[in-house]
Symmetry: C2
Subunit: 331 residues, 2 copies
């Protein structure tokens, strides 16, 4: 890829031109013929996060000999798949805010939200098909399956304390890391990287995704409503047991009063805000948070080791920078 | 394809071996790791209709030199896409029954239904990708987009009398005919049919789908709850204006009392069952029904003309038989 000075560390700035092309493709694909729905969908797309998944796909592809148009197409597909999944997920969670803005769910009926999400899935699948690569399409379809699996697990695992670390990791792999993994794998495939490199890129994406989700799970406990558009401890209120909560459960043992409170909150027997707020405070002040962040850092470090195989040193450095982005949100 | 005696007219019997292979693929793909959800999904899949879309895909492919495994894979993908779309559609409509059985929607929360539908979309996309044909994948993705478009139109067009025939046809093309069209097109593509044949097969599928949907719209008015698992006039109750209702509106003019009642029902101002039942009775006894059926027959006839291009006479006869299947349900 284009040589860049290493001291210029903002990977988003360096990749801006590519990301703007992705943005244009995403907006084009997300435009519906129905003005009301279209406006709401474009609001969501534009409110959208950092385009991290497209960024990672582009970097993985640009480290090799990828056709840029094909990379842009796949990157737009990945971002739309992510958006579709958020639209449905907000409806599943009945969330009122996403990225600090009202969700589609709070502005349209459930039926319309389901259909708009399906429409976005369709548009993302059309973009995947436009790459003309059966392998890219297969990664894409498998990833959608993994995301659903993760979300279904979150639903069916809810309200149950005493889950294994493995169950947690399987769940967040599906829910979050699978699309990061699919993105970097697609980048490698479109870049015609050697198979061993593609596998390491996929592993890198997966590890970065795990780090991101663990940090998200920490932020859910440590950030307040105005920061993230949700009440602190939202996961707990929904009965979702995350890594910091699992760490906390291990710290307090099974027989303490606090263990009883935690169990009752997770099982949905205690729902009053004061008790839950106290519990969240107690978790925040415990070593459970740092323990979870250590785990996230271990994933990020493994991600960086995996990309040592990438021959282009500039891209390698940018990918390493991306692996650490999860932790920027903690400051 | 295998030569069959022409007097053996049950196309489902003739294609049974193929359809059983499709069935096995569908059930395999629809099996989730979550026993509760998996049981419910398999119930829906097994309650499933006649496998008309897989049948049409198989016939279109078998008329040429198709790889049977690839046809079976694509046919299973098409059936799963249809099932996923029904699962979401029942949730959009808040329907309690489908094919005379409780919908998933009436047995799981909305969130679970959304995710199960998404899971089925993912599995169908995986099957499409497994054909290894970028063109099949593209038809598949585009069709999903068309289905969503049709369903969104149905939602946004609801509660509005005075729609054009073109609006109605665009909507039912998306909602129903697009997947029939995609199925026969995929069959032709997998069969390596000449391009002109593929286009006629696609047109045939579209016309058959239009005929089916128009007959469905008639049956919605003429059949009772025990026949179809929905109250008669369900579309009207939801404010959906179908062809027989449009015909009826034209017959009664814009200024009659009945026109006022019809408008009020469509706009959702009148919701009491007695008035709607009377209105449905009046439509049933009017020439509006026969007028709609004539339109459906015109589509079926055009479908049969289109397949005159198909070289294999046995398959051509079977496809012609399928074009008339819509009307069997009227007896």
């Amino acid at each position: 890829m284009q040589r860049v000075a290493l001291q210029q560390t903002d990977v988003f700035g360096i990749m801006r031109a590519d990301l703007e092309r992705v943005e244009a493709r995403v907006e084009q694909a997300a435009t519906l013929e129905f003005p009301l729905a279209s406006g709401l969908v474009l609001d969501i797309v534009r409110a959208g996060g950092k385009r991290l998944r497209p960024l990672m796909l582009l970097l993985a592809g640009r480290a090799y000999t990828a056709d840029l148009d094909t990379l842009i197409t796949a990157a737009a597909g990945v971002e739309l798949l992510h958006t579709a999944s958020l639209v449905h997920d907000d409806s599943v969670d009945r969330a009122a805010l996403r990225r600090g803005k009202p969700t589609l769910n709070s502005r349209l009926g459930t039926g319309a939200v389901i259909l708009v999400g399906d429409f976005l899935f369709a548009q993302s699948a059309i973009l995947a098909a436009e790459t003309g690569s059966p392998r890219v399409v297969k990664i894409f379809a498998t990833t959608l399956g993994d995301i659903c699996d993760g979300q279904l697990r979150e639903m069916f695992d809810a309200h149950r304390i005493g889950q294994s670390r493995e169950e947690y990791e399987t769940r967040i792999y599906g829910k979050t890391a699978s699309l990061f993994a699919g993105s970097t794998e697609m980048g490698g495939v479109i870049g015609n990287a050697p198979e061993r490199h593609i596998q390491e890129l996929r592993g890198y994406g997966s590890d970065v995704g795990m780090a991101f989700q663990i940090v998200d799970d920490v932020l859910d406990l440590t950030q307040t409503s105005t920061d993230i558009g949700k009440p602190a401890g939202n996961d707990l209120r929904q009965g979702t047991v995350t890594l910091p909560v699992m760490n906390y459960a291990n710290l307090i043992g099974e027989t303490s009063d606090r263990a009883g409170t935690l169990r009752a909150v997770v099982e949905g027997e205690i729902t009053d805000d004061a008790t839950i707020d106290d519990l969240v405070q107690d978790i925040r002040q415990s070593p459970a948070i740092d323990g979870a962040l250590d785990t996230a850092r271990t994933f990020a470090e493994r991600a960086k080791q995996r990309i040592e195989i990438v021959p282009d040193s500039e891209t390698r450095d940018l990918l390493a920078e991306v692996a650490d982005l999860a932790f920027q949100r903690l400051s």
